[in-house]
């Protein structure tokens, strides 16, 4: 059951991710990205991260991607035009990617033998209560700083995107 769930949603995630990269029109990429995020939320649930799964759907898929779509609509960007090239990217890009992926996959396989396994319900420490407790005790400082970061982001976004007052 676990395996089937994993396989279904992993494949959905990968297919959507490929779609993000391959599609010419940004809107299609955005929708596919939402699909990726949704599948990832299911995978988080499988790993026992209830709160994070919820946050993923609400914040990431619900707010950030909506923002993306709004901006794409604002910019009225059409399908991508093939223009300009870079020698480095064309020469090195693909080999490096393959090398990167190969290396990481290899090492992951080597370092994590098959006997460590994931089952649904294997980890129960991802509840809102646990996260809240950790957030307001051990990670108090990062929490506060991140709050200020968000404030700065808000102010920055407003300053950058407003119309000039005459």
């Amino acid at each position: 059951m676990n395996v089937i769930l994993f396989l279904i949603f992993a494949i959905i995630a990968v297919v959507c991710a490929i779609n993000v990269v391959v599609q010419t029109h940004p809107i299609s990429s955005a929708i596919s990205l939402v699909g990726v995020m949704g599948s990832l939320a299911i995978l988080y649930l499988l790993l026992g991260a209830e709160f994070i799964a919820a946050a993923q759907v609400i914040v990431y898929a619900g707010a950030v991607m909506v923002l993306f779509i709004f901006v794409i609509m604002l910019l009225n960007a059409g399908a991508e035009v093939k223009q300009g090239r870079s020698v480095v990217v064309h020469l090195l890009g693909v080999p490096l990617l393959i090398a990167f992926l190969g290396l990481v996959a290899y090492f992951v396989q080597r370092l994590f033998p098959r006997d460590v396994e994931v089952t649904f319900g294997g980890f129960t420490g991802g509840t809102a209560q646990a996260i809240g407790r950790a957030l307001f005790t051990t990670y108090m400082l990062p929490f506060e700083i991140t709050s200020i970061l968000v404030l700065i982001a808000i102010v920055g976004a407003i300053v950058l995107a407003r119309k000039e007052m005459d």
Binding site: G84, S86, V87, V88, V89, L92, G93, L96, L97, A99, F100, L103, V104, F107, R110, L111
Partner: protein, 617 residues
């Protein structure tokens, strides 16, 4: 005893005159200048009288100067009989020449009375270094004095520094001396390596035990130094040019004191030389060759100072013959008498030049004997002394050397006697051309002031009576190893006859029949030209040594090594850095995607590196 005061008085004089003399009047400068040397003379006299009879050396230790591992040099002064002779000669003649200089330099042109204070400052500095040289108790102190007198010689030869020929002459003197000093330095290195010390006492005590080859090498290297300082073949070329300096300088430095430093040093090092017969032979051969060679050049010169310059080179050759044949006391004896009459000859010629307002060419002189009588008579005393006329001081010292030469190798005696004849000839040629006949010039000759004639008279007395007043061979006999040189009366007669013959020939050629000299010169043609141009030795040196060195320096070292190699390397590094930067600049394409590719590349590299170094366990 406070030996250190002897050189300190002139040093004080140098400092006072050098630092403040610009604002002094000529009289005040003279007081300090003469006073310091006179004080030095008085103190030396007092010390020597107190130390009489000076059978053993007396030393004073001041401080340890250099202490570096096994190498230790102390600042010591010591006085023995040889030092005593040198001290008296240097300070005594030095004082007389200082007094003379006041009169001679009184009418110089230029600011600050024509550099009056500067002249006396340099002269005092010279006295300081010369006295240090003489008093030193080890080779290094001697070398300090050696170098210092070379420096003062340079400063004084180039005293008229606005004249190129004077500064060139100063350069020449210093550079040629350096070649000799190179030999001296090598000798000091070898001495230290062999004996472990530079101290005279230590070295001379151990000298008999060292190998003859080593001692011969040391001796030859010391001789190289001596040929530089004392103007022997091959390094004599600077002395005639040194006549560009004021005449008192020629008298003091290039006749009486500095050039004798080489003879002094060889005499002082006698324990080394007596155990290295090959070196002594070399000294004698160089000495006799120089004596003859320089005498022949002196025959043809027309500048009065040049005649006496070559005469000095020749007489120094005699001193070296004495030293080389083992008659050290005879060499020193001749050093002393030569100081008397050569200083007198130079000062006298200075008086002549002063009387004629700067004329130095003897062809424009003549008949001055009635116009400047004191100069004439005093110079005549010197002339007979140098010619070896019996019972003058020069006679005794020259014969002492000739006896030793005959004992060593008879051919040297004959060459020496011939040279004596030539010496008498050219000296009296100079005297006759200057003082006899009709006056051929355009100036108004006037006698020199008392300040100048006074020292002339004192030196004249010493030239005539020095042999009787100072019996140097007996005085120094206890110091040096004795030499069995029988005093053959026959030899004395022959050498005196040679001298008188020279005087006679000169008399005939220049007084009785004044045109003879020119006709002989005309008939000899090429030979005369050769001698007149000093055998073209300077030109030969220039072509073989100077030009190759200068050109080699310019082409190989300057353009090749310095500009090409070193600058090229440094500039090349800069160019290479710029080239590399130019290549690396291609990465800054402004294209964000390529930047990302490089980041990916770097991360892949990191993973590989980490795994290879075992980080990913």
């Amino acid at each position: 005893m406070q030996l250190w005061l002897i050189p300190i008085f002139p040093l004080a004089g140098f400092l006072i005159n050098g630092l403040f003399g610009r604002r002094f009047s000529k009289a005040l400068v003279s007081v300090f200048g003469i006073g310091s040397v006179a004080l030095s003379f008085a103190w030396a006299l007092k010390t020597l009288l107190a130390l009489a009879p000076l059978n053993t050396a007396y030393s004073e230790h001041y401080f340890t100067w250099i202490q570096s591992g096994a190498f230790q040099v102390n600042w010591d002064f010591s006085v023995d009989r040889l030092t005593a002779v040198m001290l008296m000669v240097v300070t005594g003649i030095g004082s007389l020449i200082h007094i003379y200089s006041v009169g001679y330099m009184a009418h110089e042109h230029g600011p600050n009375h024509g550099g009056f204070y500067r002249f006396f400052a340099y002269l005092n500095l010279f006295m300081f270094f010369m006295l240090t040289l003489v008093l030193g108790a080890n080779y290094l102190i001697l070398f300090i004095g050696w170098e210092g007198v070379g420096l003062c010689s340079y400063l004084l030869i180039g005293f008229y520094f606005d004249k190129k020929f004077a500064t060139d002459a100063g350069n020449k003197a210093f550079i040629v001396n350096r070649i000799g000093d190179f030999g001296f330095s090598l000798a000091m290195f070898l001495i230290f390596k062999t004996f472990g010390s530079l101290d005279f006492g230590t070295v001379f005590r151990q000298a008999p035990a060292a190998s003859e080859a080593v001692l011969t090498t040391i001796g030859l290297l010391l001789l190289l130094g001596a040929t530089g300082k004392s103007a022997q073949i091959p390094l004599y070329v600077w002395l005639p040019d040194a006549m560009a300096g004021p005449t008192p300088v020629s008298a003091l430095i290039h006749a009486a004191t500095m050039v004798t430093a080489g003879v002094y040093m060889c005499a002082r090092s006698f324990p080394i030389f007596t155990h290295a017969p090959a070196a002594m032979d070399t000294i004698a051969i160089i000495g006799i060759a120089t004596a003859f060679f320089a005498a022949t050049i002196g025959m043809a010169q027309n500048d009065i100072k040049k005649v006496f310059a070559y005469s000095t080179v020749s007489q120094l050759g005699y001193m070296f013959v004495g030293v080389g044949c083992g008659a050290f006391s005879a060499g020193v004896y001749h050093l002393m008498t030569h100081a008397f009459f050569k200083a007198l000859l130079f000062l006298g010629s200075g008086s002549v030049i002063h009387a004629l307002s700067g004329e130095q060419d003897m062809r424009n002189m003549g008949g001055l004997r009635t116009k400047i009588p004191i100069t004439f008579w005093t110079m005549m005393c010197a002339a007979v002394a140098i010619a070896g006329v019996p019972f003058t001081s020069g006679f005794f010292s020259k014969d002492a050397i000739l006896f030793a030469a005959n004992h060593h190798a008879p051919w040297m005696y004959w060459v020496g006697t011939l040279t004596a004849g030539i010496t008498a000839f050219y000296v009296f040629r100079a005297m006759f051309m200057t003082f006899f006949g009709r006056y051929r010039g355009n100036a108004h000759p006037h006698e020199s002031p008392a300040l100048m004639t006074g020292p002339l008279i004192v030196l004249a007395i010493l030239s005539l009576g020095g042999g009787f007043l100072f019996k140097i061979p007996e005085f120094l006999g206890s110091l040096f190893p004795t030499l069995e040189a029988p005093e053959d009366v026959m030899l004395m007669v022959i050498s005196s006859a040679a001298g008188l013959l020279g005087i006679l020939i000169a008399y005939v050629m220049y007084v009785v029949k004044p045109g003879t000299a020119d006709s002989i010169a005309g008939s000899l043609g090429g030979l005369y030209k050769l001698v007149l141009n000093k055998y073209f030795v300077d030109e030969a040196y220039d072509a073989t040594v100077v030009k190759p060195v200068v050109n080699g320096s310019r082409v190989v070292l300057w353009r090749g090594a310095d500009a090409g190699l070193i600058d090229g390397t440094v500039n090349g590094i800069g160019t290479a850095a710029r080239a590399v930067g130019g290549v690396l600049r291609q990465m800054q394409s402004g294209n964000i995607r390529s930047y990302a590719t490089w980041v990916l590349f770097g991360s892949v590299l990191l993973i590989v590196a980490m795994s290879l170094s075992g980080g990913l366990r």
